[in-house]
């Protein structure tokens, strides 16, 4: 549950981070769903997504490229696409409404922005989920600036020490922020790690420390 929910950051920063998720439901509309999920990702690819992924088979890096990812989609997969602007969210929602693929669609992002996007696309929100944050031994966690990056992988596969290592590489000129963001995206098997946002955050952090 919730692998796209717990992204944290400033309002302005999060206005450039939206995750679309599409999936069928076991026992209801799984049969033949693979083709519909593939159609969705093909639609998403026409709108210049930051990244796409398939939680069942792994991200594009793991599968050896986007063509393989598309070819390997199975019934009952869970597929995702990440975008960096609300205008595309509205456009894609309109296209999905028109395409009527019959698969459930979830959009993660700032509540007010996604609500407005739904209105513009002529859709009514069905169910909404909020994060109530992190409870318990928060003293054991890395600083918030690091969590803003690691939390973009909802399965906690992006380690804090890898982020620190990438920051060191950026500071010493061994990598660009974009290259570092690409490296951090590799462990995120669902393919929801927003590399554009990560590069922005990494560049700012590398300059600040």
């Amino acid at each position: 549950m919730t692998h796209t929910l717990h992204r944290i950051g400033s309002y302005n920063d999060l206005t450039e981070d939206y995750v679309f998720l599409m999936m069928p439901s076991k026992g209801i509309n799984v049969e033949g769903s693979g083709e519909k999920l593939r159609t969705f990702l093909e639609m998403a690819l026409r709108h210049n997504p930051v990244i796409i992924g398939d939680a069942r088979k792994g991200n594009a890096y793991h599968q050896g490229g986007i063509d393989n990812l598309l070819a390997n989609i199975e019934d009952q997969a869970v597929v995702q696409a990440v975008f960096d602007n609300k205008e595309t969210v509205v456009t894609l929602l309109k296209e999905l409404k028109e395409a009527d693929l019959g698969m459930s669609v979830v959009v993660s992002g700032i509540a007010t922005e996604v609500h407005e996007a739904c209105r513009q696309a002529g859709l009514e929100r069905h169910t909404v989920e909020h994060s109530l944050g992190r409870w318990g031994r928060t003293d054991k966690l890395p600083p918030r600036q690091i969590l803003e990056i690691t939390n973009m992988c909802g399965h906690s596969m992006v380690p804090a020490q890898l982020v620190y290592n990438m920051l060191a590489d950026i500071r010493t000129g061994r990598r660009t922020a974009e290259n570092a963001a690409g490296e951090l995206a590799k462990p995120c098997m669902c393919g929801i790690f927003n590399t554009k946002r990560a590069a922005r955050l990494l560049a700012a952090l590398a300059e600040a420390f």
Binding site: M1, T2, H3, T4, L5, H6, I8, Y11, M23, S25, K26, N29, A55, R56, K57, G58, H62, Q76, V78, L96, D100, G102, M103, S104, V105, V106, V107, S108, G109, I110, V114, H115, C118, L123, E124, R125, H126, T127, V128, E129, H130, S131, L132, G133, R134, W135, G136, R137, K140, L141, P142, T150, H155, S156, M157, P159, A160, Q161, K186, M189
Partner: protein
């Protein structure tokens, strides 16, 4: 995960890719060493570009250690849910399942996330605290399958020391009980040695408002500006 010592060159790159920092270099810095008690069998190091010599390998896991992979490796498909990852369809398909009906709040408590991981002993503490509300834990969630008694939240004894990247306790409650559930979670958060994330969902009202949001605001509970929104495109729509 294990290291073939004859192949390891001690480069240390795999250390960077372990989400729970279970890999270190030996004192003479010649070998990677994996703390087997801390390793959650997520497979991140093996899939990563870190090891150039093929020194990492995944031995077959047997019970009870196999639960580590089930709740840590995002590519492991849980037999209960039929999907990859540690969770379920939850609100993501609520438009076609009506799993969370009007008047109810869906709650998920993901113990160990982010980054710390959790012993199932701590997951049990949270589950037992919640079970007192008489909730039914989601049957197709793999975490529920690890309970000896889902009515009490008691886990199987041989699992309690196992460490996983995270385990999700998932249930629905009548929405008026939500504040009491949150107070209980706040109390038990001081009794565990790890972290958990909490999320709450509900079916929107006919006017588009969110039933649980009013309760959270009234109780002064912190909640994120970020949400997940099921936009209602699934078919056939569930009868309500």
């Amino acid at each position: 995960m294990q290291v073939k010592e004859e192949l390891c060159v001690g480069c240390g790159r795999c250390v960077l890719y372990c989400p729970v920092q279970a890999i270190s270099l030996s004192a003479d810095r010649k070998l990677a060493v994996i703390d087997q008690d801390e390793c959650v069998e997520c497979g991140a190091c093996l899939r990563s570009p870190a090891c150039k010599t093929g020194a990492l390998y995944q031995p077959e896991l047997t019970w009870p250690r196999a639960v580590r992979s089930l709740l840590s490796d995002p590519l492991t498909i849980a037999p209960e849910s039929g999907i990859s990852g540690r969770g379920t369809e939850e609100m993501k398909t609520n438009d076609v399942t009506a799993r969370f009906k009007r008047g109810y709040a869906g709650v998920a408590v993901e113990v160990g996330r982010p980054l710390l991981g959790a012993r199932l002993r701590d997951v049990e503490k949270v589950a037992q605290a919640i079970a007192r509300f008489g909730v039914e834990f989601e049957k197709i969630n793999p975490t529920t399958s690890l309970m000896a008694d889902p009515k009490t939240g008691k886990f199987k004894d041989d699992l309690l020391d196992e460490k996983v990247l995270s385990a999700i306790i998932e249930f629905a409650v009548p929405i008026e009980k939500l504040p009491d559930v949150l107070y209980t979670l706040e109390r038990v958060s001081h009794e565990i040695d790890t972290i958990f994330t909490v999320d709450v969902c509900s079916r929107c009202n006919p006017d588009g408002s969110i039933p649980h949001e009013e309760l959270l605001a009234r109780g002064n509970w912190w909640y994120s500006i970020n949400v997940k929104t099921n936009v209602g495109l699934g078919r056939p729509l569930a009868a309500e």
